[in-house]
């Protein structure tokens, strides 16, 4: 087990030194700033029109969800981009040779790296979510319903993407890995929207297509469940948006995503354990 923690530690440090992480953090700060200014302007607008507190609360909740959705997108992209090179890059450069010949099993190397990236992504999600909620509460006086549940589901979405970059990284080069994982992320995004559309159109074909897309890559269903957990029921039903409560992923869907994650990670371990380096 010691090997896992050593690899996790070095991976966390490596990830923290990558420019992409700091770029993503700067982007998050920029977005928080824009989010804060927009909230402030909206509050001034509300005050000038003497809007009812109930409606004001619902609109502010919608604004908060926009902020959290942006943080979610940034976290997923950051999880993919920071980890995409870790296995294929070290295999192709030969960096892995000096490590895989130490008394550490290959599965420990992979799990250690996975834990390191998960720690880094968890920190990122915690910072961006806490920042978004703090700005929303400070300026608009609005906080999400179940922020911890929402943040954990978003973290799970990021870890799901991470497990895919690890699995495909044991087979493919960095570039191919990136194209494939981002492509699957696109499938997940499309699946989420199709399920939303199906809630309005009632088309059986669109429902089936949406479900199949979500089965291929269930990441987006985790976000939609997170959105459902975090916003007020009324705000969720207000609009046709990535956080509208038109089609709420069930506990079974979340369970499927969890099982998917575990299986993908197990395949990654198996293939890394048996391939030539």
């Amino acid at each position: 087990m010691n090997g896992i923690w050593i690899m996790a530690g070095i991976t966390f440090r490596e990830a923290a030194r990558r420019k992409i992480l700091w770029t993503a953090l700067i982007a998050a700060v920029l977005l928080l700033t824009i989010f804060g200014v927009a909230l402030h302007l909206q509050m001034e607008e509300f005050n000038s029109r003497a809007m009812s507190p109930f409606l004001r609360y619902q609109v502010q909740s919608g604004m908060l969800m926009v902020g959290l959705y942006t943080a979610d997108l940034l976290a997923v992209v950051m999880a993919i981009l920071t980890s995409i090179d870790t296995l294929p890059g070290e295999i192709s450069s030969g960096t892995i040779h000096a490590i895989a010949t130490k008394p550490v099993a290959r599965w420990q190397i992979l799990i250690g790296k996975f834990v390191g990236f998960t720690g880094m992504i968890a920190t990122y999600v915690a910072i961006t979510f806490a920042g978004t909620i703090a700005v929303s509460y400070w300026i608009g006086g609005v906080a999400p319903q179940h922020p911890l549940r929402g943040a954990l589901l978003v973290l799970m979405e990021c870890v799901l993407a991470l497990s895919l970059t690890f699995m495909l990284g044991t087979w493919f080069s960095t570039l191919t890995n990136g194209v494939l994982v981002l492509g699957l992320q696109g499938v997940a995004f499309m699946g989420g929207w199709l399920e939303q559309v199906s809630g309005f159109s009632q088309s059986a074909h669109i429902v089936t297509l949406g479900i199949v897309s979500s089965l291929i890559m269930p990441g987006e269903s985790l976000w939609r469940r997170a959105a459902y957990e975090m916003q007020t029921p009324l705000a969720g039903s207000l609009s046709f948006s990535p956080f509208a409560n038109v089609s709420i992923p069930s506990a079974v869907a979340i369970g499927y995503a969890g099982t998917y994650l575990v299986i993908v990670l197990a395949v990654a371990i198996y293939h890394f354990q048996h391939r030539d380096l």
Binding site: N2, G3, I6, I10, E14, R17, S93, G94, T95, H97, A98, I99, A100, T101, K102, P103, V104, A105, H274, D276, L277
Partner: protein, 285 residues
């Protein structure tokens, strides 16, 4: 690889030679569990080659060495030492000692991305030695080093042999192998085609250059009982004998046949000569 069969004795510096593409690096990777052979078996220190625990006793410097270049030299050695299970207290004393050994004490706090190729090779050697392994695999350890660096590596390898470690050395620099190794094997097309003891073994092939007058045809023909390769001129003879033990008999044969021998110079064939003879001339890729 085909029918590869070799044994390395404990405590020797073993040279692994062969032309490009002969399978040297692949063989090392199989011995280290990086590559799984499609057939056969390999053991290191009595344990199967893919045994994880035995790797506490193994050090390895890869041919295309790449390390985390954002670490300092000290951090890299601490990382690899920890992977080998070394406790922090041991690392605190061992890391400065290994840095001193490879001549990098002054650069201990430099990040590796600022290192030259030679310095990277030195730190690579240091990570292979930090845990004081019993078997050390070195794949082209001197290719990026200057003459002083090569001398340092030679001294380190000899010191490792003196403390009882076994060194498995893969190098293209035959002069280095010749003065460092105890024994070499030659690999060609994935097969061991010859082996040679380099430490004064009577089996080592010797070339003899002689100058003599009154050389009869019978005298020259008689040399074939010791040598398969005899070149003769009017007064010159060049031939090879399989071992130094044969030299007195050869000289007696020439004198007793009536030749006046002015010069009789045994020359040990260089490793390069042996390499070309055993492996063959470069026929291009």
């Amino acid at each position: 690889m085909r029918n590869l069969s070799l044994t390395v004795r404990r405590g020797e510096i073993f040279g692994f030679l062969g032309p490009n593409g002969a399978g040297k690096s692949t063989s090392i990777k199989m011995l280290l569990g990086l590559v799984t052979p499609t057939g056969g078996e390999a053991f290191v220190l009595g344990a199967p080659a893919n045994d994880v625990e035995i790797r506490r006793q193994i050090g390895f410097l890869p041919e295309d060495f790449r390390f985390y270049d954002w670490l300092t030299a000290t951090e890299l050695l601490e990382f690899h030492g920890r992977l080998c299970g070394m406790p922090a207290i041991k690392l605190r004393e061992r890391v400065p000692a290994v840095l001193e050994l490879v001549g990098l004490t002054a650069h201990r706090d430099w990040r590796l991305r600022g290192f030259s190729k030679g310095m990277l090779q030195r730190i690579g050697l240091a990570q292979a030695l930090v845990h004081e392994p019993q078997v050390i695999f070195l794949d082209e350890p001197t290719s990026g080093l200057d003459p002083m660096g090569r001398r340092m590596v030679r001294d380190i390898l000899r010191a490792q042999r003196e403390r009882g470690a076994t060194v498995f050395l893969n190098s293209h620099i035959l002069s280095e192998i010749e003065i460092t190794c105890d024994r070499v094997v030659f690999l060609k097309d994935g097969e061991v085609v010859a082996s040679r003891d380099l430490k004064g073994s009577p089996e080592t092939e010797i070339r003899v250059r002689a100058r003599a007058r009154k050389l009869s045809l019978e005298a020259i023909a008689g040399l074939t009982q010791w040598s398969l390769s005899v070149h003769s001129g009017a007064e010159d003879l060049i031939f090879t004998v399989a071992s130094a033990e044969a030299l007195p008999d050869v000289l007696r044969h020439l004198v007793s046949s009536g030749a006046d021998v002015f010069e009789f110079t045994p020359e040990r064939a260089s490793l390069e000569d042996l390499f070309v003879k055993i492996v063959g001339e470069d026929r291009g890729l």
